[in-house]
């Protein structure tokens, strides 16, 4: 006998219930994207390697899945690399395509390639899988979906305001209360680095600051010192470590810290604008919180930085994030296209909803009624009713074989089908249907019209 088949590590099969639950999240996000005026695009699963390579750093390049060229691919293999058995150097000559690693670089490529057909500002959303040759672990997969919305071609801060509302609308629709939307601004981080005279150490500085939650104040300071940031500079940072109170009061504290930095003050002004607008518009499921330690992919972002945390009682990393980037399309030669975008982490949102029991019971409802099959004559009579039910959007099916009744009833039970219909000679003669409720056990003879109205 053949070996029982399996799937590659880090990938997943989804059964009907899982697909239904995932689609519930996708549809909620998609529906909200639409009401906010975002339009869908889709890009190919694989891109030319030149489009992807070099865009995610050295580590990213390594994690990109490469597709082997077709045919006699060794004919064009780089001779030197081949001789030296240098995998790394050989790859480019035997692989021209690669699976996309995220949706952002393909989107940048799309905007540049189709710039003449696009009406700017362009608000697009994209919900597609991406692939990474990462070491699989809990909640980390080699194939997973990203749900992104971005606007390109406008520097307006109203977009940031809209994205915060969008997050809130999605989490409200998912009934996921207590979400925190953390916000920061790259200009504030640059400003702080500037006032402590560490502009040249911006990355080291923010990497250390980003760890405040995990390692605490003292360790952060040690790390900064070890990276060459002066004690005097670190002393100036002291107010940062004790920032608290409302968004507005934190803004005030930051203003005094950053009074000497024009860029820092600009960042504060942006945050204050966003906060004031959100205060006016209101949030339902989420809270907006200033977090000056938030850095994410700092090199990437130029203005606002977002990160969304699950409700406090759920142990889970961020369930979304995003920010403003002023030069998304520059990598493909199109300058001065500012963009801002956010992403939803489907897999983590799924785990959170599962943990909190927030999936609606109806989400994996599949078949509402199974018609028991007593033989060909009865089956044909049933199929006429089934046709009518389906026409009224009732999910209905006939058990395919005239198997023993017990087997058919067990099938209905195992699949949680709430109703069965029994049709024998008597029903055919009187043109009726015996409808049985599988939960209560009650059963009634009904006409076709009654059947349709009861199940619709």
């Amino acid at each position: 006998m053949a070996q029982k088949p399996s799937i590659p590590k880090g990938t997943r099969d989804f059964n009907p219930e899982q697909v239904a639950k995932r689609n519930y999240i996708f549809n909620t996000i998609r529906g909200t994207f639409k009401t906010f005026g975002f339009q869908p695009i889709e890009t190919p699963s694989f891109e030319n390697s030149s489009t992807l390579m070099g865009k995610y750093g050295e580590e990213g390049d390594r994690l990109i899945f490469k597709i082997l060229n077709s045919g006699d691919y060794l004919a064009k293999a780089n001779a030197e690399a081949y001789e030296n058995k240098d995998s790394n150097k050989l790859t480019g000559s035997i692989s021209e395509k690669a699976l996309r690693y995220d949706l952002t670089v393909p989107f940048a490529r799309y905007v540049v390639q189709h710039q003449n057909e696009i009406e700017f500002p362009f608000k697009r959303y994209q919900i597609q899988p991406v692939w990474r040759a990462d070491r699989p672990q809990k909640g980390r997969f080699r194939e997973f979906y990203q749900c992104d919305a971005d606007v390109v071609g406008s520097k307006s801060l109203w977009q940031e305001v809209e994205f915060i509302q969008l997050y809130d609308t999605v989490f409200s629709a998912l009934k996921l209360e207590g979400v925190t939307i953390k916000i920061n601004n790259r200009k504030i981080l640059s400003g702080i680095a500037e006032v402590i005279d560490a502009s040249d150490k911006l990355i080291d500085f923010t990497v250390a600051l980003d760890k405040l939650d995990k390692i605490g104040e003292e360790k952060v300071k040690e790390e900064m010192l070890s990276k060459g940031i002066s004690q005097e500079g670190i002393d100036k940072l002291q107010p940062l470590f004790t920032l608290s109170g409302t968004f507005e009061s934190q803004i005030e504290s930051l203003k005094s810290i950053l009074s000497a930095s024009e860029e820092g003050l600009k960042g504060i002004e942006e945050l204050a604008f966003i906060d004031a607008a959100i205060a006016e518009l209101g949030l339902t499921a989420a809270t907006l919180q200033l977090d000056v330690t938030l850095a994410r992919g700092l090199n990437y972002y130029t203005g606002a930085i977002f990160e969304v945390s699950a409700p406090k009682d759920v142990k889970m990393g961020s369930i979304g994030g995003g920010g403003r980037y002023d030069d998304l399309t520059g990598i493909f030669g199109m300058k001065d296209v500012s963009g801002v975008g956010i992403s939803f982490g489907l897999d983590r949102i799924y785990l959170v909803l599962e943990e909190l029991g927030l999936f609606p019971e109806t989400v994996s409802k599949n078949v509402e009624v199974l018609f028991i099959n007593f033989g060909d004559k009865e089956a044909l009579f049933c199929l006429k009713a089934i046709k009518e039910l389906r026409h009224n959007e009732v999910n209905a099916e006939l058990y395919p074989d005239a198997a023993k009744m017990k087997k058919q009833m067990t099938h209905a039970n195992r699949r949680n089908i709430p109703f069965v219909v029994l049709v024998g000679e008597e029903e055919i003669n009187s043109k009726t249907y015996t409808l049985k409720n599988m939960v209560s056990g009650e059963q009634h003879k009904v006409s076709l019209e009654e059947l349709v109205s009861k199940l619709s």
Copy 2:
């Protein structure tokens, strides 16, 4: 300046209108799958190579996209193949995964792997992309979607009846009238080969017969002769070439041709059963037609064979197909699981609907109303109304920048947004909104309630 980026040949970007039109077809098919009691599953984009290789013939193996192993993949390269620069032999040692080639083999793998969790008969649908390293041409791509529905675990012919109804329901919903569902049965082809004493040449025989439409009767006969089928046998086939009339009368002719073949008569009985049931249940958009020349992937099918043709006035190959296979999961060591399934050809259905102008006008409706941005104070006032509109599922947006009014109006026009709202100081003071119809040019001052009710 960087080179303008591009995508690999045979792949496609989809713009918002195309995504909307594709989703219209997907949603129609998915909705019908559901009312017929099918449940969704999803499988990973790539499988272990061993799952896919050898399942599609030599040509198929060649067309499967292989994924290069990560890291120092040459370390495990087959030494002999490497020395001989034998691409074909080397592949297996530097690539362990491959992109799926269709949805059928992954489905078979899924059924075997999850057999203990599955309640049989199992009706599943699957709508996912597949990849083939085929030479791209009009209507043929390297990445394309398949939409499959299959039932495994029942030999009941009612499934065949249901699939014909399913096709009809989908094409009715798409308003695509005049579709022909061609049906044949593998047992009839075997029976014919048997009576002309060419059972050992079944493939040659059906390959030739399959060409009747394209090359005509004489050429088909020549080909059969050249493949070693006797003149006497070919003479016996004569009635096949002139089969005509109703489904029933063709069945009668076939009965006389196949009177000596038990298997052939079984095939006729099956077809007659299906035809009688369909005659009782009725079809709306499609016609069922017997086509004894229909063979498709003959080795695969064991009973019914389906193929769907577009309406006659559209030049297009088949837009769907399927059939019964009695040993789907045998390749993975699970015996005696009969299956029957059908597939929809998304890309071709798209082209047909486009050619016949059958996409509903509303399909690519995106944003219903754009709020003109006259400045921050006005924008905030607008966003409060926009929030209310979105809450009522109206797709609404604010122009992000306080640009010149003409620019904003042009933006609304270019995007075919049917309404704009203008809010200046007067409107803010009177808490009203000036709603302008972009088609008629009419405009009225309305309250928030009126705005919501007019646009909902």
